[in-house]
Subunit: 330 residues, 2 copies
Amino acid sequence: MRIAIDAMGGDHAPHAQVRSALAAAADWPDTQLILVGNQEVLSPLLGTEPPANISIVHADEVIGSDDEPVRAVRRKTNSSMVVAGRMVKEGNADAMISAGNTGALMAVGLLVVGRLPGIDRPGLAPMFPTLDNVGVLALDMGANMDAKPEHLVQYAMMGSIYREKVHGLRNPSVGLLNVGTEAAKGNELTKEAFDLLQQAPIHFVGNIEARDVLEHKCDVIVCDGFSGNIMLKSIEGAASAIFKLLKEELMSSWSSKLAAAVMKPGFRKVKKRMDYNEYNGAPLLGVNGLVVKGHGSSDENAMKTAIRHTRAAIDNGLITALAEEFSRKE
Amino acid sequence: MRIAIDAMGGDHAPHAQVRSALAAAADWPDTQLILVGNQEVLSPLLGTEPPANISIVHADEVIGSDDEPVRAVRRKTNSSMVVAGRMVKEGNADAMISAGNTGALMAVGLLVVGRLPGIDRPGLAPMFPTLDNVGVLALDMGANMDAKPEHLVQYAMMGSIYREKVHGLRNPSVGLLNVGTEAAKGNELTKEAFDLLQQAPIHFVGNIEARDVLEHKCDVIVCDGFSGNIMLKSIEGAASAIFKLLKEELMSSWSSKLAAAVMKPGFRKVKKRMDYNEYNGAPLLGVNGLVVKGHGSSDENAMKTAIRHTRAAIDNGLITALAEEFSRKE
């Protein structure tokens, strides 16, 4: 299998990208890692004898984190991200991974790779941590801000297929993010979506409140991209606030400082378990090829995690399964 | 001033309601506390010599937490909550407080007390904790699930007036809950609202991301009731998850158990600071009278906090100020 990596996108690019590719090349000899980016920059980083299953595809432009997504994708046609997308589109790679500008990657998915037939809106689907360490796939986390009820149904079906194919779950449960558990709760969107989800060919378990998402009440949770982003960033903000306050408290006396020293590894563990970035590699579900988002701050390990998840998705024929399901619905 | 208290609503009713009224009656002799509920139940709780500034108004029905809000308010016309609402409507009380069924209290506000002229949708406006302990007023937290851009403008104006009148802030800053800080970010609702908020007679500071709400980036934050609920419950869920995980970690070895004992008061302090329920007494802004929601689990102290905030709102002429502002706009 061939995985194109946008070697220039992300806070730690290109180093983290190159190092993770080298590590992946060693671990998985069946995988061809294609680093897309500036040849002059990348080549020296690979060393004098790069492994046979790593190659470079030259691209001389870079889409920055401040670039306006759609305009950047349209104009910077020789950027590392767009070139990687084109490789997927043209069948020269089985997947692409980028830790660059999220909006631009969505635009690459839509404008370069294109939608899967039968899908109206692709959805970005990261894994959220849960207390039992299993995790929940949440979509859409911001590919499309507004959604119609039928889009939520497509998210639900795509999420189910992903959990089945890539994580091996049987009959994954799907919940609808809502403000209460009763069927009649919610806004116009969720009320209509609730009825449609009940009829959809999925294992729908009803409404899930935002406070219960981390409790693993379902394997897939669906919502519009705006609400999803609010949830994701609220959790992030709350976690950051709590750890700041704890730090203050712990530094307030010598006895608590001592206790803090003892507890430091435990704190770090909890912080890590709450970090949804730990499950790196969120697929953009609904595009006609595998487009995977690594978080912007991905280091070498995080990038390698994204590569591992991408391999699993390729190995298990995710895109074919999605295409089959939705072509049937056309 | 006269404050009607729904003595039968809430997890700890009627005891917490009666005890908080007794405490408030002692602290604030200028305030008449009117306990609305079953005379036979309440009377013995007041003791043989209740203070002169406490009275009981009999109501023989109770709206339960499982009652369907609108139906309950329409049918249980002699319930403690509806009777308290009627007292506000008819000028027999300057405010009402209830820790009962939230949806029913919204319905009492709309159907019994009625809207302020010039307001389309009332908004529920609790205070959120912030890291600097100042807090941010957030609305709407669920009175109306769907909102139009002009409703967000009304929320912004009402929230500003509340912060000015009740908390004494000069020129309070107003933010729009959104998925990014740039003007063009968001869904259809927030994009349109952004433009309207820029023209509104408020101190608008632009978009605020959910992760920054606890950082006190503004004094008032506005959003539709659905997003607001998602934010509120995500923060609640994240806090609960983190404290669960920390507890697990702390119980995992003898040294950490020891450390945990030392840190317990600090933990409790952080938990308390993160608890938006600590700022008890959320006004339902936009109804033609002061209707205040206490959280369902209010104990005596929480109820007394709600009474204190309600006093401040009456003292500072909140409803008159709101009425003046919006009648001008008619």
